[in-house]
């Protein structure tokens, strides 16, 4: 990582002049995503909406460093991801970014506690880091209401419980940015509402910026702002809350 890529100040996410494109395999015109500017302050929560194929998931992947823009800057927690090598981006992602997926994507052979600790294990955390991580995981589990379920395997948990384990996993590294790709898609409305509240509450409590892709417009009013991915090229990303 270059020295100017890191910032001493903790920030959420910052995307500027980003341009990303790839050719489609079905012969239709190439996909393009242009982002003039998208800034998320620490503790700020934004919902991302837009029609299917408009680039919501691509936006999440760009923020996570999974995808690298052709041009433009992508910073997370003050680190310029676009300037990093693949290995460095992976390490930064494991350290700075928490991810919650629609299918939760828990590892079926690990207990709830071990699933929460996966981001620490894959980045090669040492004994001390694991010890503190385990304490944080326990605290998070208590906060999301699964303190008694830490020894269970995912198959032994309900959908809602798995969702909470996934939330705890996303937050265990104390990330600068939490990215959620339709995390409530598989939950009933009540559970979805509860899960979003939980996510917002935990992210805000930890000062993490939160970007959530959702189709559930009933939940939008709970976010600081809503970003329509189709307007990002016009600088909508910097628009006001609940625009």
């Amino acid at each position: 990582m270059s020295s100017d890529a890191a910032s001493p100040l903790r920030t959420g996410a910052d995307l500027r002049g980003v341009s990303f494109a790839y050719s489609r395999t079905d012969g239709t015109r190439p996909f393009r995503l242009e982002i003039e500017e998208l800034c998320l302050a620490p503790g700020e929560a934004a919902a991302v909406i837009g029609p299917s194929g408009s680039g919501k998931t691509t936006l999440v992947h760009l923020c996570a460093g999974i995808l690298v823009p052709k041009t433009g800057e992508v910073s997370v927690g003050g680190v310029r991801l676009d300037r990093l090598s693949d290995g460095e981006r992976r390490r930064e992602r494991a350290r700075q970014v928490g991810l919650v997926f629609q299918e939760f994507e828990l590892l079926d052979y690990l207990s709830a506690l071990d699933n929460i600790l996966v981001p620490l294990r894959i980045r090669g955390a040492n004994r001390a880091e694991l010890r503190s991580g385990r304490a944080r995981a326990t605290e998070l589990a208590a906060a999301v209401g699964i303190a008694d379920l830490l020894g269970r395997l995912p198959a032994q948990l309900s959908q809602g419980e798995r969702q909470r384990v996934a939330i705890a996993r996303a937050l265990v590294t104390d990330p600068a940015l939490v990215l959620c790709d339709e995390p409530t898609g598989n939950l009933d409305p009540e559970a979805a509402s509860h899960a979003v509240d939980l996510l917002l509450q935990q992210a805000r409590a930890r000062g993490a910026a939160l970007l959530m892709v959702t189709h559930d417009h009933g939940l939008l009013d709970r976010f600081d702002r809503v970003i329509d991915v189709t307007t990002l090229a016009r600088g909508a990303g910097s628009g006001g809350p609940n625009e």
């Binding site: 999974i66 494991a94 590892l107 996966v118 294990r121 894959i122």
Partner: protein, 388 residues
């Protein structure tokens, strides 16, 4: 790396049945060639070392393999005999120590090795209990024989009958156990040792009976001044006791009593060479170097063993391919998991790492299991060399 190791371990542990099956398959594929190789090596080493420890064997002309296998491992064979006087004649030459061997009889199925006390000294056999078999009708038992038959010094052991239809001869000789040798890990453990004179009693060449002048007249067929013919109903003694020992005697010239072979322990290498060439040049008997004979014998079977080695290699190769297939299918099944880890920020090729480590774990466990099984097999399998 430790995090990946942990995940691999947890995956293997969570899929116990699959992992156990893989470990068992690989362990079995390793155990077979390892054990066979180790046993073969042990066997080969023991065969060769016993042969190398025995400088020369002298016997009647004939198959040198039979002579060597009989003299070293007490393998049953129909060796032509050599007269005892040949041993005395060789002894006069002074080039070596000569040890008589007679191996035609068995007791409860174990070979009776009739020899002299020098044999025990040569093989380093010191009785664990009792003493060497120094008297007519005494035996000293190899450790396995004593253990299998539950015999101790002072007990009795019957020889196996050989001439069931000669009613004048006792069907078996009741022999007193004078001593028991400790385990030596050699064919000596499975033998019954006695003095050559006892073998001659078993041969019927020496026997004991009531003095001729005291024989019941009803059994005397004819009597002259210097000879008496006695009925076959006169029973010979079936046991040598302190009381009747004095009546045991030989028929004819003791110098002509038969031996199966003579072990020669030359005083020097030069003496050994001269002795061997002298015996072979004379032609009446043959002198063989056991190490060379066993070397030839093992050389002949080596090519066949190489074939079985090849079979072992194929077996291992097949198992390796099957195990690889299992892991390949496993990696396909775990694609979603790998993508999740990749997105969360796991290092590139984390999937290959997880599969590789799990495979390594399986191999490690299988290796340990096969190693343990091999050691156990070597420990518990009966000593092949002593039962060669």
């Amino acid at each position: 790396m430790s995090g990946i190791l942990y995940l691999a371990w947890r995956h293997a542990a969570a899929h116990r049945a699959r992992t156990s099956l893989l470990v068992a398959c690989v362990a079995l594929a390793l155990w077979v060639p390892w054990t066979a190789g180790a046993l073969a090596g042990q066997y080969d080493q023991a065969l060769r070392s016993r042969a190398a420890e025995t400088p020369l064997i002298i016997g009647a002309p004939g198959n040198r393999y039979d002579l060597t296998l009989a003299a070293l491992y007490f393998r049953p064979s129909q060796l032509e005999t050599i007269p005892y006087q040949e041993l005395e004649r060789l002894q006069e030459g002074g080039r070596a120590t000569f040890i008589p061997l007679h191996m035609r009889f068995t007791a409860r199925g174990y070979p009776i090795v009739a020899t002299s006390v020098e044999y025990a000294e040569f093989r380093g056999l010191q009785p664990a209990e009792g003493r060497h078999a120094l008297r007519l009708g005494e035996v000293a038992l190899g450790a396995d024989v004593a253990a299998a038959l539950g015999l101790r010094a002072g007990d009795a052991l019957l020889s196996d009958p050989t001439e069931l239809y000669d009613i004048s001869r006792p069907p078996a000789l009741k022999m007193r156990v004078a001593g028991v040798y400790p385990p030596a890990g050699t064919p000596d453990d499975g033998a019954v040792f006695c003095d050559v004179r006892t073998a001659w009693v078993l041969e019927g060449i020496a026997h004991g009976h009531a003095p001729a002048e005291e024989i019941d007249e009803a059994l005397v067929l004819s009597r002259a001044d210097e000879s008496v013919a006695v009925s076959g109903a006169l029973m010979e003694y079936a046991e040598v006791t302190e009381e009747n020992e004095g009546s045991f005697h030989y028929h004819g010239d003791t110098a002509l009593l038969p031996l199966s072979a003579v072990l020669a322990l030359p005083a020097s290498r030069k003496d050994g060479t001269l002795l061997k060439s002298a015996v072979n040049a004379e032609g009446s008997f043959q002198a063989v170097t056991p190490a060379a004979v066993i070397g030839d014998l093992l050389g002949v079977v080596f090519r066949i063993k190489a074939f079985f080695d090849l079979v072992g290699v194929f077996l291992l190769g097949t198992t390796a391919l099957l195990v690889s297939l299992v892991f390949l299918l496993s990696s396909r099944l775990r694609g979603a998991e790998m993508r999740t880890l990749d997105r969360i920020g796991a290092p590139r090729r984390v999937g290959a790492g997880l599969i590789g480590i799990e495979a390594a774990l399986v191999l490690l466990l299988a290796g340990a299991l096969a190693g343990g099984a091999t050691a156990a097999t070597l420990r518990w399998l009966p000593d092949l060399v002593s039962t060669f």
